[in-house]
Each structure stands twice: as C-alpha cells, then as structure tokens.
C-alpha cells in the first residue's frame, strides 16, 4: 500500500470512529443508550439495517463467490423483500406497542419468563460466538495478504468498535453505520468501474457479459428443484424468506437497529428500503466478481489464490509436483484466453458457427482448468497438511492489490474495515443490551437504579467485546469450531422464529406448550443436520414449522392452567 492508500484508510476510518465517540457520547438514560432516544429517521435505519447484515466477509467473499460459482448466490436473498414486508407489517408495530428494549422481552409478556430466557439464551450463544468470527474473518485476510499482524488487527478492530459503541450507545452505532455504508457503496462502485476498465481494449462490457454467460457465470436464477441444492429459486424464495424473517424479526442485532426510530413509519420505511435494494446490491457485488473472472481470462490467474500457502507448497518437498501442475495450468489458461478472443471476434463479425465453436472450445478449456485446480488443491494439502483449500475469499483482495490505483486500494481496505466494524457494533450493542435487559435487570438485579443499569450495560458491552476479540485471537487454533459456529447460527433461527410466530398468530397457545415445542423443534433441526443432506436454508422452514405444529398439539394436550392458554398475559404487562 502506498502513502496515499494509508492516508485514505486512516482518514476514513479514524473520522468515523472519532465522530462516533464524540458526537454521540454521554447518553444518561437506558432509553437514550439502548434506543437512542427514538430519534432516528428512515434513511439512517435503512442503511444501519443493511450495514449490520453486510459484514466484511460479504465484501471479501461474495465477489470471490461470483468469480468461482457465478451469480447463483443472489437467490439466497429472493425471500428477503417479502420478509421485510412481514416484519414491517407485524413485528414492528408489536415491538413499538410493547416499548421493548429487546425482542425477547416480548416473549415474557406473551408467554412466560422461561420462554423469554430461552430466546435470549439462543441469541447470546449463537451471536456471542459469531461476533468473534466477524472480527477474525477480515483480520485473517488482511494479515495474510497485507502482512498486518493478526493479533493487533483483531484488537484494533475490536477496540475501535467498543469505544464508540460504549460511548454513544445505539445512536452512535446507527449513525456510524450510515457513514460506513456510504463508504462501502462508494468503494464498491469505484472498484466496479476499475474492474470493467481493466478489460482489454477490444473486449467491451457486452462481450464480457457474453463470455461470462458462455462460462456459466451468469446463472442468477436456477428454477430446477433439489432439496440438497443450497441455492436455487425455490430454496431462496422459501428458505430465504424464513431465514430473513427470523433474522430481521427476532435477532436483537437487527431488532435493535429499527426499534430506535422516531415512529413506526420511520422503522417501516427503513426496513422497506433494505427490502428494495438488497437484491440489486448483492447482484452488483456478485457481478463485480464475475467481471474480475472475465478480467482473469485475459490476465493469467494463479492456480491457487492464497499466495502464502502456495509459496509454502512450492518450497516444500512436493515443489516439483506443484511446478508441473502449474505448467499445465498455464497451458490451459492460454488456451482459454485464445478461445475467448475467438469468441469475441466471432460475435463482432456475427458468425454464428464460429461463435458456437468458440463457445465449445471455451467450455472445454474451462473444464481442464477446473480439473487442474482441483489437482493443485490436493497437491497443496499433501504438501502443507494444515492448508485450507477454500481460497475464494482471497480472490477479490488479490485483484485489488494488483490492479487498483493508489488511493483506491486504501479506500477498499477502509470499506472492509467499515463493513467489519458496522456488523460488530450491532452485535456487541445487541449482546450488551440483551444481557442487561433480559438477565441483569430482569433476573439478577431487578431493583437496580437507572444509573447502575446503564453502567452495567456498558460493562456488558465491553465484556462481550473482550470475549469477541479473545475468540478471534484464538480462532486460528479452532478451525473446526469456526465452521461449527457458522452452522450453529443457521440451526437456531427457525426455532426462534417459530416461537415468535406462535406468539403473534396463535393466541390460544401458552408458554409451557411453546417452550417444549421449541425444544422439540430444535432437536428435529439438529437431527436433520446430523442425519440428512438437506440444504441449510430449509432448516429455517423445518424448525419454524415444527415449533408451530408441536406447540398447537401440546396446547391441546396440556391441561389449562399456569403456562397454558388461560395464562396468556395481556400485551401491556411487559417487564
């Protein structure tokens, strides 16, 4: 990185952090600290909701996914707009009516304390561990590619977020997220222009899109149905809908973003803003990855994108074997580039037969490259046993390092840090508020003063920050645990959503029935994960459906009484 890159990076990041600390410090009440005094307008809420979901990994991994797998991942978001409508229409007015600080407070007013604590516990476990990964994922990439020390990168990101989150509370989180999201969008647009501008002079954007299509990278919609297929139209619309409904409706890191609006109208508009622009934004990020793929048709890509690992494999005893594979790779790359030029020329002269022949040649060359790459990965693992073969996360950053002009690279790293900090801020804020409101104030110290509760809330936020940084610091020792944490989160959402949907729509069902239904639903989801190959998006549908059906069945079987239907509380009795 050049001096200009460092200047842009430091100025952008420092401004947001310092502004977040000093502009919004000094909240004196729980209302001000946890709900920002209910003062936010819809643009801030919309960008804040968007920034919370889009972590640094989104901007590092998704272009890499576009490069490797095309645009099919966009289908993951197809159910989101409809989920935004349901959250705006049902969840938002309910939370405003109850004037809750956390989503789980509502569960006690509707059911009972044990159901509230179950919901809060599921959130704290899954989100508490995920916060560490949110720090670790960008830190490991920045440290391995830019040579930054991993330990200090983790601490730097964590400390900056804790400072402005604790100083300014929820309002600081939302306002800094607005600025961070503006930096992110500006950085992506600039990088997109550079990626398109780097194509050879005789290859226009139209040619590039056709080339990407010929190599199956413009595969945004797949209408075929397979339960084991992770991303298709049906899993996106159904599983994606339930996942988005659970995430935006019941996850405190999102609920905390929109319950601090000026009114129900502002919160609704913020959520609908997210529903309107999420699919286009994700499609644009994937398209950026596709353009990087087309760029690398003409500029030879490495056989493996994680450069330090590739170097280690080259330097090992298996080095000669790696060199042979790389030689074959280069031949296949040259053949694909030649086929691509023939394809573009055939299109220019409108020669359909030559275009079809070039298309076949392209696909064959790509097939050889794919096979060679798999061979290279196997050889690298044999040479460096601890090597991680998934290297797609390194693609976009490697492209940026090699091709972005001075200043823009600094902006892109600022984008990555901004995206990381915006997600972590929401997570720490939500973890702190849930620990305070659902445990400290409700169970441990119900008689604590406002002042003492506010101090406790700040201390809990710092505590969760320390846990997240500690987890991120030791995450490299726990590769399998990272995978487990990611799966863990996706396993819980369906169950929690089921609890909330029963609360909203099945007034006859009481706390005991829904509590045990949630336990049974969770057991079913874990069984599906352990014993079937069902795509994980479907777990949200299965978990939610199981909780609703089991709750209704149990309610019919249970005697009426405490915890039963007769014990359903009035909605204004929130703790």
């Amino acid at each position: 990185m050049t001096t200009l890159d460092w200047t842009v990076l430091f100025a952008t990041t420092a401004f947001i952090v310092v502004w977040g600390i000093f502009r919004y410090r000094g909240a004196q009440t729980m209302e001000g600290y946890l709900r920002g005094g209910n003062s936010l307008r819809w643009p801030t809420i919309g960008l804040s909701v968007m920034a919370t979901q889009a972590s640094a990994v989104t901007f590092l991994s998704v272009p890499g996914q576009g490069y490797e797998d095309g645009m099919r991942f966009v289908q993951f978001y197809f159910g989101l707009p409809l989920a935004m409508v349901v959250v705006a229409a049902v969840f938002v007015p309910m939370y405003y009516r109850m004037r809750v600080y956390t989503a789980y407070e509502y569960l006690e007013s509707r059911f009972d304390l044990k159901t509230r604590l179950l919901g809060a516990s599921l959130f704290l476990v899954s989100r508490g561990l995920a916060a560490g990964i949110t720090i670790y994922a960008p830190a490991i990439l920045l440290s391995s590619i830019l040579g930054w020390p991993l330990y200090w990168t983790n601490i730097g990101i964590g400390a900056a977020v804790v400072l402005y989150t604790v100083a300014g509370g929820s309002k600081a989180v939302s306002q800094t997220q607005k600025q961070q999201m503006i930096v992110v969008l500006a950085g992506l647009v600039a990088t997109g222009f550079v990626a398109c501008g780097k194509l050879p002079d005789d290859v226009g954007v139209g040619d590039a899109i056709s080339l990407a299509g010929a190599l199956d990278r413009v595969n945004a919609v797949d209408a075929s149905f397979a339960v084991s297929d992770r991303y298709n139209l049906w899993s996106g619309l159904t599983g994606g809908f339930f996942l988005a409904l659970a995430y935006f409706g019941t996850d405190q890191s999102q609920v905390g973003r929109y319950i601090n609006g000026r009114s129900v109208t502002e919160s609704r508009l913020g959520l609908l803003f997210n529903g309107m622009f999420k699919i286009p934004m994700q499609a644009a990020i994937l398209f950026l990855g596709v353009m990087v793929f087309v760029f690398h048709i003409f500029v030879a890509p490495p056989v493996f994108w994680n450069a330090p690992t590739l170097e280690a494999a080259r330097a090992s005893a298996d080095g000669p074997k790696i060199a042979l594979i790389e030689a074959r790779w280069e031949e296949a790359v040259a053949e694909r580039a030649e086929a691509a030029r023939a394809f573009v020329t055939a299109r220019d002269v409108e020669d359909a037969a030559a275009e079809a022949a070039a298309r076949t040649r392209l696909a064959t060359a790509q097939g050889v490259m794919d096979a060679t790459r798999e061979e290279a990965k196997a050889a690298i693992v044999a040479a460096v046993p601890k090597a991680e073969t998934k290297d797609s996360d390194y693609i976009f950053l490697s492209f940026a390092l090699a091709n972005l002009p001075a200043g823009l690279l600094g902006l892109l790293v600022a984008v990555i840090l901004s995206a990381a900090m915006s997600s972590i801020a929401s997570e720490l804020s939500a973890l702190g508020s849930t620990t305070t409101v659902d445990y400290y104030r409700r169970v441990l110290r119900p008689d604590a003063t406002e002042r003492r509760t506010l101090v406790a809330s700040k201390l809990f936020t710092v505590g969760w920050g320390v846990v997240a940084v500690a987890f991120a610091t030791f995450a490299s020792l726990l590769d399998n645990l990272i995978q487990a944490v990611n799966i863990l989160g996706s396993l819980f959402y369906g169950t929690v959503l089921g609890i909330f949907l029963v609360a909203f729509f099945f007034k006859r069902v009481g706390g005991t029935a829904v509590f045990w239904a949630a336990i049974a639903g969770e057991a079913l989801v874990v069984s599906c994960f352990a014993f079937t190959d069902i795509g994980y998006l479907w777990f949200n549908v299965i978990g939610c459906g199981a909780v609703i059906v089991a709750a209704l069945a149990l309610q019919m079987a249970l005697p009426r009484g405490p915890g039963g239907a007769a014990a359903v509380k009035a909605p204004d009795s929130a703790a």
């Binding site: 049902v90 007015p93 899109i209 199956d216 413009v218 595969n219 945004a220 109208t265 309107m276 499609a283």
Partner: protein, 54 residues
C-alpha cells in the same frame, strides 16, 4: 377528549392495545409495490440467465 381535531395516525407510538394491528392497513399499496418491483428484478435476472446460458 382529544386536544386536537386531527385524527391520530395509526403508526403513532401509542396505538390502542386492543387486538393485533391490521396486517396491511393503509400500507398495502407500498408493500405491494415493493413485492412487484422485486418480482420484476427477479424476472429480469431470469431472462438474463436464460439469454446467456451456455
């Protein structure tokens, strides 16, 4: 008696507590516009996919 003749907007922070809120209410057209806009976007992506499939 209300201090203002203007009817209270249903989105105000303190709506009446009796029963669940209307599912769509006067926001129905806004929700419908959002869903239709997204259906058009998905349709365009499907057309692009079909047109450029290998």
């Amino acid at each position: 008696m209300s201090t203002s003749d203007a009817p209270a907007a249903p989105e105000d922070r303190s709506p009446p507590d009796d029963g669940p809120p209307p599912f769509l209410g006067r926001w129905r057209n806004v929700y419908l516009a959002l869903v239709l806009a997204q259906a058009v976007i998905i349709g365009l992506l499907a057309l692009l996919t079909a047109a450029l499939a290998p």
